[in-house]
Protein backbone atom coordinates (compact mmCIF):
# COMPACT_ATOMS: atom_id res chain seq x y z
CA UNK A 1 0.00 0.00 0.00
CA UNK A 2 1.62 3.19 -1.04
CA UNK A 3 0.35 6.63 -0.70
CA UNK A 4 0.35 8.46 -3.97
CA UNK A 5 0.59 12.19 -4.05
CA UNK A 6 -2.97 12.85 -5.10
CA UNK A 7 -4.55 10.36 -2.78
CA UNK A 8 -5.39 12.28 0.38
CA UNK A 9 -3.55 10.87 3.36
CA UNK A 10 -5.53 10.94 6.58
CA UNK A 11 -3.16 10.19 9.43
CA UNK A 12 -4.22 8.27 12.50
CA UNK A 13 -3.14 10.16 15.56
CA UNK A 14 -3.43 9.08 19.16
CA UNK A 15 -3.21 11.77 21.82
CA UNK A 16 -2.76 10.76 25.44
CA UNK A 17 -3.96 13.59 27.67
CA UNK A 18 -3.70 13.81 31.41
CA UNK A 19 -6.99 14.28 33.13
CA UNK A 20 -6.14 17.38 35.10
CA UNK A 21 -4.47 19.74 32.67
CA UNK A 22 -4.33 18.64 29.06
CA UNK A 23 -7.68 16.92 28.85
CA UNK A 24 -9.19 20.05 30.35
CA UNK A 25 -7.14 22.10 27.88
CA UNK A 26 -8.68 20.05 25.09
CA UNK A 27 -12.10 20.69 26.59
CA UNK A 28 -11.35 24.39 26.59
CA UNK A 29 -10.24 24.20 22.97
CA UNK A 30 -13.60 22.59 22.29
CA UNK A 31 -15.71 25.10 24.18
CA UNK A 32 -13.72 27.89 22.48
CA UNK A 33 -14.46 26.23 19.12
CA UNK A 34 -10.79 26.13 18.22
CA UNK A 35 -10.67 23.85 15.23
CA UNK A 36 -8.11 21.11 14.75
CA UNK A 37 -8.26 18.07 12.46
CA UNK A 38 -10.49 15.12 13.31
CA UNK A 39 -7.53 12.79 12.83
CA UNK A 40 -6.62 13.38 16.46
CA UNK A 41 -8.29 11.02 18.93
CA UNK A 42 -7.78 11.64 22.61
CA UNK A 43 -7.32 8.98 25.28
CA UNK A 44 -7.78 10.20 28.81
CA UNK A 45 -5.23 9.07 31.39
CA UNK A 46 -4.97 10.23 34.99
CA UNK A 47 -1.46 11.58 34.53
CA UNK A 48 1.19 11.70 31.86
CA UNK A 49 3.16 9.28 34.03
CA UNK A 50 0.48 6.67 33.36
CA UNK A 51 1.59 6.40 29.76
CA UNK A 52 3.70 3.35 29.25
CA UNK A 53 6.13 3.37 26.33
CA UNK A 54 4.42 0.14 25.38
CA UNK A 55 1.19 2.04 24.78
CA UNK A 56 2.98 4.25 22.30
CA UNK A 57 4.69 1.41 20.48
CA UNK A 58 1.46 -0.55 20.52
CA UNK A 59 -0.33 2.36 18.85
CA UNK A 60 2.28 2.43 16.11
CA UNK A 61 2.15 -1.32 15.76
CA UNK A 62 -1.58 -1.15 15.22
CA UNK A 63 -1.25 1.49 12.58
CA UNK A 64 -1.10 4.89 14.26
CA UNK A 65 0.91 7.43 12.28
CA UNK A 66 1.67 9.73 15.17
CA UNK A 67 1.42 9.68 18.94
CA UNK A 68 1.41 12.74 21.14
CA UNK A 69 1.47 12.88 24.90
CA UNK A 70 0.16 15.93 26.72
CA UNK A 71 0.50 16.59 30.42
CA UNK A 72 0.58 19.36 32.97
CA UNK A 73 3.50 21.74 32.77
CA UNK A 74 6.48 20.56 34.80
CA UNK A 75 5.90 21.76 38.31
CA UNK A 76 2.13 21.78 37.92
CA UNK A 77 1.44 18.08 38.04
CA UNK A 78 -1.68 17.22 39.96
CA UNK A 79 0.32 14.44 41.54
CA UNK A 80 3.34 16.76 42.01
CA UNK A 81 5.93 14.63 40.25
CA UNK A 82 4.23 12.49 37.63
CA UNK A 83 5.18 14.52 34.60
CA UNK A 84 8.81 14.64 35.66
CA UNK A 85 8.96 10.87 35.36
CA UNK A 86 7.01 10.99 32.11
CA UNK A 87 9.48 13.52 30.76
CA UNK A 88 12.44 11.25 31.41
CA UNK A 89 10.72 8.19 30.06
CA UNK A 90 9.64 9.90 26.88
CA UNK A 91 12.98 11.61 26.37
CA UNK A 92 14.64 8.20 26.34
CA UNK A 93 11.95 6.48 24.29
CA UNK A 94 11.91 9.18 21.64
CA UNK A 95 15.66 9.16 21.42
CA UNK A 96 15.56 5.40 20.92
CA UNK A 97 12.95 5.69 18.20
CA UNK A 98 15.13 8.20 16.45
CA UNK A 99 18.07 5.85 16.86
CA UNK A 100 16.35 2.93 15.19
CA UNK A 101 15.41 5.11 12.26
CA UNK A 102 11.88 6.25 12.98
CA UNK A 103 11.31 9.62 11.38
CA UNK A 104 11.96 12.49 13.75
CA UNK A 105 8.68 14.03 14.81
CA UNK A 106 6.33 11.06 14.81
CA UNK A 107 6.16 11.34 18.53
CA UNK A 108 5.80 14.46 20.59
CA UNK A 109 5.32 15.59 24.16
CA UNK A 110 3.63 18.87 24.88
CA UNK A 111 2.78 20.41 28.23
CA UNK A 112 -0.68 21.95 28.04
CA UNK A 113 -2.46 23.48 30.99
CA UNK A 114 -6.21 23.59 31.52
CA UNK A 115 -6.14 27.23 30.49
CA UNK A 116 -4.31 26.63 27.25
CA UNK A 117 -7.09 25.76 24.85
CA UNK A 118 -5.37 27.79 22.18
CA UNK A 119 -2.10 26.00 22.72
CA UNK A 120 -3.83 22.64 22.60
CA UNK A 121 -5.48 23.41 19.29
CA UNK A 122 -2.30 24.91 17.83
CA UNK A 123 -0.26 21.94 18.96
CA UNK A 124 -2.67 19.51 17.35
CA UNK A 125 -2.74 21.49 14.11
CA UNK A 126 1.04 21.53 13.99
CA UNK A 127 1.31 17.87 14.86
CA UNK A 128 -1.19 16.78 12.23
CA UNK A 129 0.65 18.87 9.66
CA UNK A 130 3.94 17.28 10.68
CA UNK A 131 2.59 13.75 10.49
CA UNK A 132 0.91 14.46 7.19
CA UNK A 133 4.22 15.62 5.81
CA UNK A 134 5.92 12.49 7.11
CA UNK A 135 3.28 10.28 5.57
CA UNK A 136 2.20 6.84 6.63
CA UNK A 137 4.07 5.14 9.44
CA UNK A 138 5.63 2.12 7.83
CA UNK A 139 8.59 1.60 10.08
CA UNK A 140 6.78 0.75 13.27
CA UNK A 141 3.62 -0.88 12.05
CA UNK A 142 2.90 -4.55 12.18
CA UNK A 143 2.31 -5.60 8.61
CA UNK A 144 -0.42 -7.93 9.72
CA UNK A 145 -2.52 -4.93 10.68
CA UNK A 146 -2.61 -3.59 7.16
CA UNK A 147 -5.89 -3.92 5.39
Amino acid sequence: MSITANEEFKPKIVAFCCNWCSYAGADLAGSSRLVYPADVKIIRVPCSCRVNPMFILHAFEKGADGVILCGCHPGDCHYSTGNYYARRRMALLFSMLDYIGVEHGRTRVEWVSAAEGVKFSQTMNEFVAKITSLGKNVRLEDLRCRK
Binding site: L69, F94, M96, L97, R108, D142
Partner: protein
Protein backbone atom coordinates in the same frame (compact mmCIF):
# COMPACT_ATOMS: atom_id res chain seq x y z
CA UNK B 1 42.73 -21.06 39.19
CA UNK B 2 44.37 -23.34 41.73
CA UNK B 3 44.20 -20.55 44.28
CA UNK B 4 40.46 -20.27 43.67
CA UNK B 5 40.00 -24.01 44.14
CA UNK B 6 42.07 -24.02 47.31
CA UNK B 7 40.17 -21.14 48.80
CA UNK B 8 36.85 -22.67 47.83
CA UNK B 9 37.82 -25.92 49.52
CA UNK B 10 38.80 -24.04 52.67
CA UNK B 11 35.53 -22.17 52.80
CA UNK B 12 33.59 -25.36 52.20
CA UNK B 13 35.40 -27.30 54.83
CA UNK B 14 35.25 -24.63 57.52
CA UNK B 15 31.52 -24.36 56.96
CA UNK B 16 31.53 -20.75 55.82
CA UNK B 17 29.70 -21.77 52.69
CA UNK B 18 27.48 -24.70 51.79
CA UNK B 19 28.35 -24.73 48.12
CA UNK B 20 30.41 -23.06 45.47
CA UNK B 21 29.05 -21.42 42.36
CA UNK B 22 31.64 -21.40 39.62
CA UNK B 23 32.39 -22.89 36.23
CA UNK B 24 32.54 -26.58 35.42
CA UNK B 25 34.99 -27.87 32.85
CA UNK B 26 33.20 -28.72 29.63
CA UNK B 27 33.79 -31.58 27.23
CA UNK B 28 35.31 -29.16 24.77
CA UNK B 29 37.95 -26.58 25.53
CA UNK B 30 35.49 -23.83 24.97
CA UNK B 31 32.34 -24.84 26.78
CA UNK B 32 32.59 -24.64 30.55
CA UNK B 33 29.21 -24.26 32.20
CA UNK B 34 28.04 -22.38 35.29
CA UNK B 35 27.71 -24.92 38.03
CA UNK B 36 27.47 -25.65 41.72
CA UNK B 37 30.18 -27.60 43.55
CA UNK B 38 29.61 -29.18 46.90
CA UNK B 39 32.71 -31.28 47.48
CA UNK B 40 36.46 -30.79 47.39
CA UNK B 41 36.80 -33.73 45.02
CA UNK B 42 34.39 -32.19 42.56
CA UNK B 43 36.28 -28.88 42.73
CA UNK B 44 39.60 -30.58 42.15
CA UNK B 45 38.35 -32.57 39.25
CA UNK B 46 36.06 -30.21 37.45
CA UNK B 47 36.41 -26.58 38.51
CA UNK B 48 37.78 -24.37 35.78
CA UNK B 49 38.43 -20.68 35.33
CA UNK B 50 39.80 -19.37 32.08
CA UNK B 51 39.04 -17.13 29.15
CA UNK B 52 35.95 -19.10 28.24
CA UNK B 53 34.25 -18.50 31.59
CA UNK B 54 32.31 -15.52 30.30
CA UNK B 55 29.01 -16.38 31.98
CA UNK B 56 27.91 -13.81 34.55
CA UNK B 57 27.12 -15.79 37.68
CA UNK B 58 25.23 -12.93 39.36
CA UNK B 59 22.03 -14.00 37.72
CA UNK B 60 22.35 -17.49 39.16
CA UNK B 61 22.47 -15.98 42.61
CA UNK B 62 18.78 -15.08 42.36
CA UNK B 63 18.07 -18.78 42.73
CA UNK B 64 21.20 -19.23 44.82
CA UNK B 65 19.80 -16.82 47.41
CA UNK B 66 16.92 -19.18 48.00
CA UNK B 67 19.18 -22.09 48.92
CA UNK B 68 20.01 -23.10 52.45
CA UNK B 69 23.10 -21.39 53.84
CA UNK B 70 25.73 -19.37 52.05
CA UNK B 71 26.94 -19.83 48.52
CA UNK B 72 30.47 -18.96 47.51
CA UNK B 73 30.18 -17.18 44.21
CA UNK B 74 33.01 -16.13 41.96
CA UNK B 75 32.38 -12.81 40.32
CA UNK B 76 34.42 -11.17 37.63
CA UNK B 77 34.73 -7.40 37.87
CA UNK B 78 31.86 -6.79 35.46
CA UNK B 79 29.68 -9.40 37.16
CA UNK B 80 30.03 -7.57 40.44
CA UNK B 81 28.14 -4.58 39.00
CA UNK B 82 25.25 -6.87 38.24
CA UNK B 83 25.32 -8.31 41.72
CA UNK B 84 25.14 -4.84 43.24
CA UNK B 85 22.24 -3.94 41.02
CA UNK B 86 20.43 -7.11 42.05
CA UNK B 87 20.98 -6.17 45.68
CA UNK B 88 19.40 -2.79 44.98
CA UNK B 89 16.39 -4.56 43.57
CA UNK B 90 16.13 -7.05 46.42
CA UNK B 91 16.59 -9.93 44.03
CA UNK B 92 19.64 -11.42 45.70
CA UNK B 93 20.45 -11.71 49.35
CA UNK B 94 23.85 -10.29 50.23
CA UNK B 95 23.96 -12.37 53.36
CA UNK B 96 23.55 -15.56 51.38
CA UNK B 97 26.60 -14.90 49.24
CA UNK B 98 30.28 -15.13 49.97
CA UNK B 99 31.77 -13.23 47.09
CA UNK B 100 35.22 -13.83 45.77
CA UNK B 101 36.12 -11.30 43.16
CA UNK B 102 38.18 -13.01 40.52
CA UNK B 103 40.60 -11.36 38.18
CA UNK B 104 39.87 -11.10 34.50
CA UNK B 105 42.15 -11.03 31.49
CA UNK B 106 39.28 -10.45 29.13
CA UNK B 107 36.91 -13.19 28.05
CA UNK B 108 36.98 -15.10 24.80
CA UNK B 109 34.35 -15.38 22.15
CA UNK B 110 33.83 -18.72 20.45
CA UNK B 111 32.28 -16.84 17.54
CA UNK B 112 35.31 -14.60 17.12
CA UNK B 113 37.58 -17.66 17.03
CA UNK B 114 35.45 -19.32 14.39
CA UNK B 115 35.28 -16.11 12.39
CA UNK B 116 39.00 -16.43 11.90
CA UNK B 117 38.49 -19.51 9.79
CA UNK B 118 38.82 -22.10 12.51
CA UNK B 119 36.92 -25.36 12.02
CA UNK B 120 36.89 -28.69 13.80
CA UNK B 121 38.47 -27.58 17.05
CA UNK B 122 39.95 -30.42 19.06
CA UNK B 123 41.81 -28.45 21.66
CA UNK B 124 42.47 -24.87 22.64
CA UNK B 125 45.37 -23.83 24.83
CA UNK B 126 45.86 -20.38 26.21
CA UNK B 127 49.44 -19.33 26.95
CA UNK B 128 50.32 -18.24 30.46
CA UNK B 129 50.57 -14.59 29.55
CA UNK B 130 47.18 -14.67 27.89
CA UNK B 131 48.73 -13.24 24.77
CA UNK B 132 47.97 -16.02 22.33
CA UNK B 133 45.70 -18.96 22.02
CA UNK B 134 46.64 -22.06 20.11
CA UNK B 135 43.81 -23.85 18.41
CA UNK B 136 44.35 -27.43 17.37
CA UNK B 137 41.85 -28.57 14.78
CA UNK B 138 41.11 -31.53 12.60
CA UNK B 139 42.39 -29.43 9.74
CA UNK B 140 45.61 -28.16 11.29
CA UNK B 141 46.82 -25.89 14.05
CA UNK B 142 46.44 -22.15 14.31
CA UNK B 143 47.72 -19.52 16.70
CA UNK B 144 45.52 -16.54 17.29
CA UNK B 145 46.12 -13.37 19.25
CA UNK B 146 44.11 -13.45 22.47
CA UNK B 147 43.02 -9.91 21.85
CA UNK B 148 41.49 -10.78 18.50
CA UNK B 149 39.35 -13.44 20.12
CA UNK B 150 37.94 -11.34 22.95
CA UNK B 151 34.28 -10.58 23.40
CA UNK B 152 33.20 -7.14 22.25
CA UNK B 153 32.45 -6.17 25.82
CA UNK B 154 36.05 -6.69 26.92
CA UNK B 155 37.29 -4.14 24.41
CA UNK B 156 35.13 -1.53 26.13
CA UNK B 157 35.69 -2.85 29.66
CA UNK B 158 34.40 -0.66 32.49
CA UNK B 159 37.51 -1.48 34.46
CA UNK B 160 38.73 -4.33 36.53
CA UNK B 161 37.65 -3.02 39.92
CA UNK B 162 35.23 -5.27 41.77
CA UNK B 163 32.25 -3.34 43.04
CA UNK B 164 31.46 -5.80 45.78
CA UNK B 165 33.40 -8.69 47.26
CA UNK B 166 34.42 -10.39 50.43
CA UNK B 167 37.88 -11.09 49.08
CA UNK B 168 39.60 -11.10 45.74
CA UNK B 169 41.82 -13.60 43.98
CA UNK B 170 43.82 -13.34 40.82
CA UNK B 171 45.12 -10.63 38.60
CA UNK B 172 43.40 -8.65 35.93
CA UNK B 173 44.50 -6.97 32.80
CA UNK B 174 43.21 -3.78 31.32
CA UNK B 175 41.58 -4.83 28.08
CA UNK B 176 39.88 -1.60 27.11
CA UNK B 177 41.05 -0.49 23.72
CA UNK B 178 37.89 0.95 22.19
CA UNK B 179 35.41 3.65 23.01
CA UNK B 180 32.31 2.26 24.60
CA UNK B 181 29.99 4.52 22.66
CA UNK B 182 31.78 4.56 19.32
CA UNK B 183 29.40 2.09 17.70
CA UNK B 184 26.38 3.95 19.05
CA UNK B 185 27.75 7.21 17.72
CA UNK B 186 28.28 5.66 14.33
CA UNK B 187 24.63 4.74 14.16
CA UNK B 188 23.52 8.10 15.49
CA UNK B 189 25.33 9.72 12.61
CA UNK B 190 23.38 7.73 10.04
CA UNK B 191 20.34 9.01 8.20
CA UNK B 192 16.98 7.68 9.40
CA UNK B 193 16.83 5.40 6.38
CA UNK B 194 20.25 3.94 7.09
CA UNK B 195 19.44 3.49 10.75
CA UNK B 196 16.23 1.75 9.94
CA UNK B 197 17.88 -0.50 7.38
CA UNK B 198 20.64 -1.34 9.84
CA UNK B 199 18.35 -2.40 12.65
CA UNK B 200 15.87 -4.08 10.39
CA UNK B 201 18.64 -6.22 8.96
CA UNK B 202 20.09 -7.08 12.37
CA UNK B 203 16.73 -7.84 13.92
CA UNK B 204 15.55 -9.83 10.92
CA UNK B 205 17.72 -12.60 12.31
CA UNK B 206 16.08 -12.57 15.73
CA UNK B 207 14.44 -15.90 16.46
CA UNK B 208 12.71 -14.85 19.68
CA UNK B 209 14.63 -17.45 21.64
CA UNK B 210 14.82 -15.07 24.62
CA UNK B 211 18.41 -15.98 25.36
CA UNK B 212 19.26 -12.28 25.67
CA UNK B 213 16.49 -11.79 28.15
CA UNK B 214 17.02 -14.92 30.18
CA UNK B 215 20.75 -14.40 30.58
CA UNK B 216 20.32 -10.74 31.52
CA UNK B 217 20.77 -10.04 35.23
CA UNK B 218 18.54 -6.97 34.91
CA UNK B 219 15.78 -8.99 33.27
CA UNK B 220 15.08 -10.71 36.53
CA UNK B 221 11.31 -10.56 36.35
CA UNK B 222 9.57 -13.62 37.66
CA UNK B 223 7.36 -13.43 34.64
CA UNK B 224 8.35 -11.28 31.73
CA UNK B 225 5.72 -8.93 30.40
CA UNK B 226 6.23 -10.61 27.04
CA UNK B 227 5.22 -13.95 28.54
CA UNK B 228 2.29 -12.57 30.43
CA UNK B 229 -1.28 -12.19 29.33
CA UNK B 230 -1.61 -9.11 31.50
CA UNK B 231 -0.50 -6.71 28.88
CA UNK B 232 -1.70 -8.20 25.60
CA UNK B 233 1.98 -8.42 24.79
CA UNK B 234 2.44 -12.16 24.97
CA UNK B 235 3.33 -13.03 21.43
CA UNK B 236 5.78 -15.56 20.19
CA UNK B 237 5.28 -14.89 16.53
CA UNK B 238 8.41 -14.43 14.53
CA UNK B 239 6.99 -12.39 11.74
CA UNK B 240 9.25 -10.15 9.77
CA UNK B 241 7.54 -7.17 11.17
CA UNK B 242 7.30 -5.00 14.24
CA UNK B 243 7.37 -7.82 16.77
CA UNK B 244 11.09 -7.97 17.34
CA UNK B 245 11.54 -4.23 17.42
CA UNK B 246 8.83 -3.93 20.06
CA UNK B 247 10.47 -6.66 22.11
CA UNK B 248 13.97 -5.26 21.94
CA UNK B 249 13.00 -1.62 22.49
CA UNK B 250 10.84 -2.45 25.47
CA UNK B 251 13.40 -4.83 26.88
CA UNK B 252 16.04 -2.14 26.62
CA UNK B 253 13.65 0.37 28.15
CA UNK B 254 12.82 -1.89 31.05
CA UNK B 255 16.49 -2.30 31.88
CA UNK B 256 17.37 1.34 31.19
CA UNK B 257 19.11 2.78 34.22
CA UNK B 258 19.49 -0.74 35.57
CA UNK B 259 21.59 -2.30 32.83
CA UNK B 260 25.21 -2.48 33.91
CA UNK B 261 26.35 -3.12 30.33
CA UNK B 262 27.68 -6.57 31.22
CA UNK B 263 27.35 -7.60 27.59
CA UNK B 264 25.80 -11.00 28.25
CA UNK B 265 22.95 -10.36 25.80
CA UNK B 266 25.32 -9.93 22.89
CA UNK B 267 27.47 -12.83 24.02
CA UNK B 268 24.63 -15.34 24.01
CA UNK B 269 22.65 -14.22 20.97
CA UNK B 270 22.73 -17.25 18.67
CA UNK B 271 22.29 -14.96 15.70
CA UNK B 272 25.08 -12.57 16.63
CA UNK B 273 22.79 -9.56 16.93
CA UNK B 274 24.68 -6.70 18.61
CA UNK B 275 22.00 -6.28 21.27
CA UNK B 276 24.24 -4.14 23.43
CA UNK B 277 23.66 -1.36 20.93
CA UNK B 278 20.18 -0.89 22.37
CA UNK B 279 21.22 -0.84 25.99
CA UNK B 280 24.25 1.27 25.37
CA UNK B 281 22.17 3.85 23.56
CA UNK B 282 20.08 4.32 26.68
CA UNK B 283 23.20 4.42 28.83
CA UNK B 284 24.69 7.07 26.59
CA UNK B 285 21.49 9.10 26.60
CA UNK B 286 21.18 8.85 30.37
CA UNK B 287 24.76 10.03 30.74
CA UNK B 288 24.14 12.92 28.38
CA UNK B 289 20.72 13.94 29.63
CA UNK B 290 20.94 13.32 33.36
CA UNK B 291 24.60 13.08 34.17
CA UNK B 292 26.85 10.08 34.18
CA UNK B 293 25.36 7.06 35.80
CA UNK B 294 26.71 3.57 36.08
CA UNK B 295 24.25 1.01 37.37
CA UNK B 296 25.66 -1.40 39.90
CA UNK B 297 28.19 0.91 41.50
CA UNK B 298 26.08 1.98 44.42
CA UNK B 299 23.18 -0.21 45.49
CA UNK B 300 21.69 2.78 47.30
CA UNK B 301 21.65 5.01 44.22
CA UNK B 302 18.28 5.84 42.70
CA UNK B 303 17.98 4.79 39.10
CA UNK B 304 17.74 7.65 36.59
CA UNK B 305 14.24 6.61 35.63
CA UNK B 306 12.96 6.70 39.18
CA UNK B 307 14.34 10.15 39.83
CA UNK B 308 14.26 13.52 38.11
CA UNK B 309 15.33 17.11 38.29
CA UNK B 310 13.13 20.13 37.71
CA UNK B 311 14.86 21.08 34.52
CA UNK B 312 15.49 17.82 32.71
CA UNK B 313 15.74 17.91 28.93
CA UNK B 314 12.49 17.85 27.04
CA UNK B 315 11.54 14.76 25.02
CA UNK B 316 12.45 15.23 21.40
CA UNK B 317 15.95 16.37 22.17
CA UNK B 318 17.77 13.40 20.82
CA UNK B 319 20.93 11.94 22.19
CA UNK B 320 23.94 12.37 19.94
CA UNK B 321 22.32 15.16 17.98
CA UNK B 322 22.84 18.12 20.17
Amino acid sequence: MQEMINRAKELLSDGTVNRVLGWRRGDMSYNPEPSYFETAEDLDANFVYNGFCGANLSKYMIEGSKLEGKTLVFLKPCDSYSFNQLIAEHRVDRDKAYIIGVGCMGKLSFEKIKEQGVKGITNITIDDANENITVETLYGEKTLAYKDCMLERCHVCKGKEHQIFDETIGESRDTKDADRFAEVEKIEAMSPEEKFAFFQNELSRCIRCNACRNVCPACSCRKCVFDSTKFDSAQKANVDSFEERMFHIIRAFHVAGRCTDCGECSRVCPQGIPLHLFNRKFIKDIDEFYGEFQAGVDPEAKSPLTSFTFNDVEPGVTGGRR
